[in-house]
Symmetry: C2
Subunit: 402 residues, 2 copies
């Protein structure tokens, strides 16, 4: 078997943890597998480097910032190779140049385009454990790039796809994907399996275990992902294609408090007004999530939408700068809201799911602000302070603890 194993910064934060990861990888190696390890920078090293940069230049060039940050993973892979060789196993570290991880040109948020596998295959043939820098690549100018948030997960999945690996294990500080955040829902249960689409929705909705870009890539190339704990030997959760997973009606509940709702009341009721609103926001680079449009009083329209909380000021400013164009609506916003979502591949063929969710909110006396649905997801916007109650109620209503 060829296994790609990815460990985050916390897992390689100091000597003891590096040795632990080394031992864990060696176990797979000694069982006869080819092992490729992807690492992030040690602990908070990336933040330390960013602070160093900002101390010199509060607005450093992204090209130079990537040049600086990529030293972080190079440090951790070199130390890991030394740790493995200390434990008697041949290992070699490779950076983005050495592997040839081709990315787009965008510094700070590049996308992987192509990974050469020749060097890695040669090193595996020499019976070495191959340790690769996560998060980084090289663009067409021969400059170093970084992949943005969750970048090392993406590196691992892309490597697994390029090498046709048998599985890709993502090690985190939790031991798998849960039906809900166990800190909030005491009865939350670790899932054995989940589909790519469910995982994608959970990732987007704030479950935070995997970055959605890596899940998208795993889906595209059909890479079997395993989310496991770096702290214990527990089995973890397997993320794979739908046909292999038993369809659950609802597989998980997620909440996201990074939300502000903005309402425009009294927009002119004429064609193109919704376009105008969202065009203004798009030009201000603001990602809009849920949208609700309703008929207002006397031939006017009301539009409400949600955005990430830190984009609130920018959004309000963009709208205020265009008041005339919008027909001077009343603008209000509320950041004491949260999104609660249920996700499940089985929903598609079960029309009653949303209704059951609303019923359970009604029974719990939780007011619903906005509703948004997809084929495998129902999201509602509620008062922020009801989040925990709502999650527990839904978790129980759908019997997720079993």
């Amino acid at each position: 078997m060829l296994i790609v194993k990815k460990f985050g910064g916390t897992s390689v934060a100091d000597k003891e943890r590096i040795m632990n990861v080394a031992r864990r990888c060696i176990k797979d190696y000694q069982a006869g597998n080819d092992v490729v390890v992807v690492l992030s920078a040690m602990g908070k090293q990336t933040d330390v480097l960013i602070d160093m940069a900002k101390d010199i230049n509060p607005n450093p060039s992204k090209r130079e910032l990537d040049m600086l940050l990529t030293t972080g993973e190079q440090t951790s892979v070199a130390l890991m190779a030394m740790a493995m060789s200390m434990l008697g196993v041949p290992a070699v570290s490779l950076n983005a140049f050495q592997v040839a991880m081709h990315t787009t040109s965008v510094y700070g948020n590049a996308r992987l385009k192509r990974i050469d596998t020749e060097r890695i295959r040669n090193e595996l043939d020499l019976k070495k454990i191959v340790i690769v820098t996560g998060f980084q690549g090289v663009n067409k100018y021969d400059d170093l790039t970084t992949l943005g948030r969750g970048g090392s997960d993406t590196t691992a999945v892309a490597l697994a796809a390029a090498l046709h690996a048998d599985k890709c294990e993502i090690y985190t500080d939790v031991d798998g994907v849960y039906t809900a955040d166990p800190r909030i829902v005491k009865k939350a249960r670790k899932m054995k399996e989940i589909t790519y689409d469910e995982m994608l929705d959970l990732a987007t909705l704030g479950a935070g275990v995997l970055h959605n870009r890596s899940v998208e890539m795993a889906k595209k190339y059909n890479v079997e992902l395993v989310v496991r704990s770096s702290l214990n030997e527990s089995e973890g959760t397997v993320v794979k294609e739908e046909t292999k997973v038993e369809r659950m009606l609802v597989s998980g509940v997620a909440a996201d408090k990074n939300v502000t709702r903005i309402s425009l009341v009294g927009l002119k009721d004429k064609p193109g007004i919704a376009f105008r609103v969202f065009d203004i926001l798009a030009k201000a680079n603001i990602n809009v999530d849920m949208i609700l449009q309703s008929i207002g009083r006397s031939g006017s329209k009301d539009i409400s939408f949600t955005i990430p909380r830190d984009a609130c000021n920018d959004a309000l400013k963009a709208l205020e700068d265009n008041m005339e164009r919008l027909g001077n609506p009343e603008i209000s916003h509320n950041d004491k809201v949260a999104k609660v979502s249920i996700v499940g591949a089985g929903m598609m063929s079960n029309p009653g799911v949303a209704a059951r969710m609303f019923e359970c909110f009604y029974n719990s006396n939780i007011n619903i602000n906005m509703i948004s649905t997809s084929e495998i997801r129902v999201t509602v916007l509620i008062d922020e302070k009801e989040t925990e109650k709502a999650m527990n109620a839904v978790h129980e209503a759908f019997g997720l603890e079993d």
Copy 2:
């Protein structure tokens, strides 16, 4: 003019010093020059990385150690580019992969073979200051290598040669090359000019300003070197070819206390005995410096030689393991000795120089242990505690303070 400027770790140890170096380079840039800057790792960063490595593996692979250490210069060049752009000047940092600094394969002590100049020239054409990682290269396996002690000086000289630079300025914490160490000889004088050969001898003899490998390369490619202070604007010392320098009889005095003398008394007086002694030492990887052979009592020979102080135990062990082969000589050693040397291109045509040095030692009542000479150098071994007295006496005897 195209100027290559090299700054060591002390010069870029923190934010303030990085900004100082940036301002200094920008001055040359704004005067209309093309500027290429070579940097070492910040402050003691290389030592910090070596300690991290040894903490994990006391005997790390040299390949992985180079992978680790090369992050040091990459960090300093990225920060320098940010500093320059903060000061409003376009700059770009390049590592060994990006420049394409081809070296031999030996990790930890590689030699530069070839430097591609295309990328650097392109960046200079875009009117950028180009900041290059010193000390590192890439070998034929696409692995990172380091150049060993004084490596960043060598990078700077090699770049200056490859780019046909008009000069190569090496910034240090002293403001030039002195006729003797100013901490020991109060009347030591900074030299305006010195030849490559004189500088080479001074470097080898412990003057410590430039590493001899970089001087050798400067001589080979006829690169005009300037040794200057990073702390002040003083002119520094120019190192260039002999025809351009006024021949001084003696241009400098140097001392080296990192010496142990070993004596073998009562060796068999037959052909090949000297070969045996130094073959044994060569096989133990010990660099022998001065050698003195004399006729001993009743058909036996005595051989004395000097080695670096930290090689003493290895040397004694190697000799003791071969006592029989050597005819059981008496072995003694003395590490309370020092070498004092005078260097000068003018010596070649002046046979009286050595004699004048010995006379001055006689006048100062300093006993000479061993003597060794080259065309442009005379070295004597004396009692360590006489070092300072000897240096001052010689400095005065040859009128170097003028």
